[in-house]
C-alpha cells in the first residue's frame, strides 16, 4: 500500500492522479517498478506495447511456464491510487512472499503492469492486454490522441520498438494462467462484510440510445389527456428498466443519460433522449433484457401516441473466468475461513482480454463504499493482507497441481 502511494505520485497532471499510456509519468513509474522488482531478484522488461513485465523464475529452466499476475498501470483522470496499481503491487508482494517463505514453485511468476486499460488517451481501452494476446493491430496503433499523436508514435517516443509488437504476444503454451487482483469498484463485498470476492465472469454489455418523440406544448393550455409528453413516456420506461433490472437475477440496467427538449419549465417536453446500459454474465439474458425493454418501450409509446427509436450503440459478450483457476482462488478463501463471495464483474478488466487465450481469474478486493475512479478510492491494510495471503495460498495450491498429474500436460519441470 505504501508502494501504491508512491506510484500515485507519478502523474501527468500535478495535484491529481492522472497517468496515461506512454506518458513521461509512466516512464518514471516504470523506473520505480524496476527498482523494486530488480531488488527482489526479478528480471524486468518493457514490451513493444509499453507493458511492464517483471519475471521471477525460481526454477532451473529459463523457459519455465509462467503464472501471470497483475493489472494495469494507467488511470482515469483524477483517479484513485488502487484501481490497477494495487493488482501489480500484489503481484510483486506475492513474489516477495514466496521468497520470504522459501516457497518452492515449479513455475515462474510474471508480474504484468499493463500499459493501457482505461481508454483515456486514445478513446479505446485494453491496448496493453490486447498486445499481450496478439490483438494490437494496425487500426489500434493508428488511433490518434487529442494532440494528434498516434498510438504507434507514442510507443516509439516511449522507447518501444513497434515493429516488434506481434512478438509481445504471449504463447499460451508457456502460460499457466493469469490472475488479476483488482478493487471491486462496487459495494457488494462491503454490503456482505467480506474482504474478498471471486469473479465468475466479466459481464457482457449492451449500450443503446433511445429517443421518445411526442409533441411539445404549453404547460398551461394543453390538458393532461391531450398531451403526448415525451418526458412522461421516458419516465415510465426508466421505471421499467429499473424494475426489469431488479426482477432479473444478475442483471444491471441503467439509464445514466437523459436530455429533454426544449427543456423549459413551462413547456411540455416534445422529445427525450436516453442512454441505456445493460449488463449480465449470460449473453442470452442480456439480449433478452434489451429486447424486452425495447418491446415495452414500443408498447408504452403506442399507448401514449409518441414514437420510440432505439439503436444499440455498443455491445460485447460476457467472458467467463476459468473454472479451475477460479476454484483455486476460492479454495484459498475457504482454507482461510472466509466466505466465498462469487461476483460477476460489471466493469471491464484486462482479464476479459486475457481470458480468451489463457486460464484467467480475478480476485476482487473490497473497496470503501464501492468508490473507484475517484481520489476517495480506499482499501484497508487488513483486506490487502488477506488478499496477499489468498494469492500466496493459491500459488502454493497451483504448484502442487503443477507437480502432480496436471503437470504432465505441460512442459516438464
Amino acid at each position: 500500500m505504501d508502494r501504491c502511494d508512491r506510484l500515485a505520485e507519478f502523474t501527468d497532471v500535478p495535484g491529481i492522479i492522472h497517468r496515461t499510456f506512454c506518458s513521461p509519468a509512466m516512464a518514471r513509474l516504470h523506473d520505480a517498478l524496476r527498482g523494486w522488482m530488480t531488488a527482489a531478484g526479478m528480471t524486468c522488461r518493457v514490451d513493444a506495447a509499453g507493458n511492464f513485465l517483471g519475471r521471477f523464475n525460481p526454477t532451473a529452466d529459463p523457459d519455465a511456464p509462467a503464472l501471470l499476475i497483475g493489472s494495469h498501470l494507467d488511470t482515469v483522470p483524477n483517479a484513485g491510487r488502487y484501481d490497477g496499481p494495487l493488482g501489480v503491487m500484489l503481484g510483486l508482494a506475492v513474489v516477495e512472499c514466496v521468497i520470504e517463505r522459501e516457497t518452492k514453485l515449479p513455475f515462474a511468476i510474471e508480474v504484468v503492469g499493463f500499459s493501457e486499460e482505461e481508454g483515456v488517451r486514445f478513446g479505446t481501452p485494453f491496448i496493453g492486454s490486447r498486445a499481450l494476446v496478439g490483438d494490437c493491430d494496425a487500426p489500434l496503433l493508428s488511433l490518434v490522441d487529442h494532440g494528434g499523436v498516434s498510438a504507434a508514435s507514442a510507443l516509439k517516443e516511449f522507447g518501444c520498438d513497434v515493429t516488434q509488437i506481434a512478438a509481445a504476444a504471449i504463447d499460451p503454451a508457456t502460460v499457466i494462467g493469469f490472475i488479476e487482483p483488482h478493487i471491486e469498484q462496487g459495494p457488494v463485498l462491503q454490503s456482505q462484510d467480506q474482504p474478498l470476492g471471486i469473479v465468475t465472469a466479466i459481464a457482457g454489455q449492451a449500450r443503446g440510445a433511445a429517443t421518445f418523440i411526442g409533441t411539445a406544448g404549453h404547460a398551461g393550455t394543453v390538458p393532461m389527456e391531450l398531451r403526448r409528453d415525451a418526458l412522461c413516456a421516458a419516465a415510465e420506461w426508466i421505471a421499467m428498466v429499473e424494475r426489469l433490472g431488479k426482477e432479473t437475477p444478475g442483471l444491471v440496467a441503467t439509464v445514466g443519460f437523459i436530455e429533454a427538449s426544449p427543456n423549459v419549465g413551462n413547456v411540455i417536453p416534445g422529445e427525450t433522449r436516453l442512454k441505456i446500459d445493460v449488463r449480465h454474465a449470460d449473453d442470452a439474458e442480456r439480449k433478452r433484457a434489451v429486447t424486452t425493454l425495447e418491446t415495452l418501450a414500443h408498447e408504452l409509446a403506442k399507448r401514449r401516441g409518441v414514437t420510440f427509436h432505439f439503436a444499440e450503440t455498443h455491445s460485447h459478450r460476457a467472458v467467463p473466468m476459468d473454472f479451475s483457476l477460479t476454484a483455486t482462488l476460492e479454495r484459498s478463501l475457504s482454507d482461510m475461513g472466509l466466505s466465498s463471495v462469487r461476483l460477476v464483474s460489471g466493469a471491464g478488466h484486462d482479464a476479459a482480454i486475457l481470458a480468451r487465450h489463457v486460464p484467467t481469474a480475478v480476485l476482487f478486493i473490497r473497496c470503501k463504499d464501492g468508490i473507484s475512479h475517484h481520489p476517495d478510492e480506499s482499501v484497508t491494510l487488513d483486506d490487502v493482507t488477506v488478499a496477499l495471503e489468498s494469492l500466496w495460498r493459491s500459488f502454493v495450491d497451483l504448484s502442487l497441481r503443477e507437480r502432480s498429474a496436471d503437470a504432465a500436460f505441460r512442459s516438464p519441470i
Copy 2:
C-alpha cells in the same frame, strides 16, 4: 385576417415576427392601426404606457362609458401572427360591423392594443395592461432590457410622457367591461370540434424546483438493490405528477425541465434536478396538488434512500372571469347554435390584469393543433367570422341591458 397578415410585416427582426415593446416596428404598426381606425371614424391615441387606444363613440355623450375590447400588440420572438393582434383586429371589426349594421349602442367601444404582454424585452409581462389598471409603478419602469435601456427610457423614446403614466389608468366607473378575444393556444377546442370557447378563469400557477440526490455509481458494478439512483427516483415522481394531473379535474401538472448528473451513459445518476409547473383555476386545488406532490416525493425519496429538496420559485393566484359578461358571450354562442365550451385559461392574459378592476371576459378562438408562439400559428376564416358574429351579438345584448334596468346604475345615456 388580412390585417393580421399586414401587422405581421411590422417586425424588429426581418424574416420572422418579432415585435417588442416600444420598438420602431411597433411605431409603424401603430401608424397602420391609426389609418384603419381613423377611417372607421374612431379617435386614436397612444397612452403614456405605449398602449394604442381607438375609441368609437356612437353616443351623444363624449364621456359615455366604454366597453373595452382588444389584446396585446407585442409578440414573442419568431411568433405567429394571431396571438394578440387577432384580438385587436376583432375589436376593430366589431366597430365596423356596428357601423355597417347600423347597430345602436348606448356606450362607446374602446379598442385596446396593449403595448406589452409577453415579457420579452424586460423579462416581466403585462406592462401595458398594468398601466391601464394603475399598476405600472416605478420598479417596473426602471427595469432595463439587454441593451441597458430602461422601460421609462424606451417609453420616452417612443414619444410617451412617462410622467403621465398614472393618468393612463382607466376609471372603472367609466368602463362597462373588457372582452379579450384570443387564440386558445391549446388543443381543447380542436379536440371538441368547436370554433369558440368561453374562459371561466385564468388559472393560478405554481412553479417549483425539485432535486433528488442519490449516489452516483458505476453502471456495471453496483447491483440494482444497492443503488440510490436519483434518476429512477425522479422518474417515479414524474409518473406521480402526471397521474395526479390526470386524476384531478382541471389540474395541469408538468415537469418540463430535467437535468441529471453526471449524465453519462455508464454512470448511475447521483443527482437529478427538475422544474415543475402546476396550474388550476382553484387556488386551493393547486396548493393541495403541490403539497401532495411534495409529500409523495419525500415518501419515495425516503423509501429509496435518496434525499429530496423542493422550493416553490413562483406562484400566482387564479383570476375568475366576470360571471355576467361571460354569460353574455355564452348566450351569443347558444343563440348561434354553438356549443358552449367552458375553458380555464392555463396561459396568462391581459384579461387577468384587467379582471381585478373591471368586469372581464375572454373569448377563445380555436387554433390549429393548439400551436402558438410559432410561425405555424393558424386560425380559419370561418372560426374568426363566427367569433366576430359572437362579439357583435354580445355587444347588442349588452346594449339592451345597458338601456334597461342595469343602466340605472351607470351614467344616464
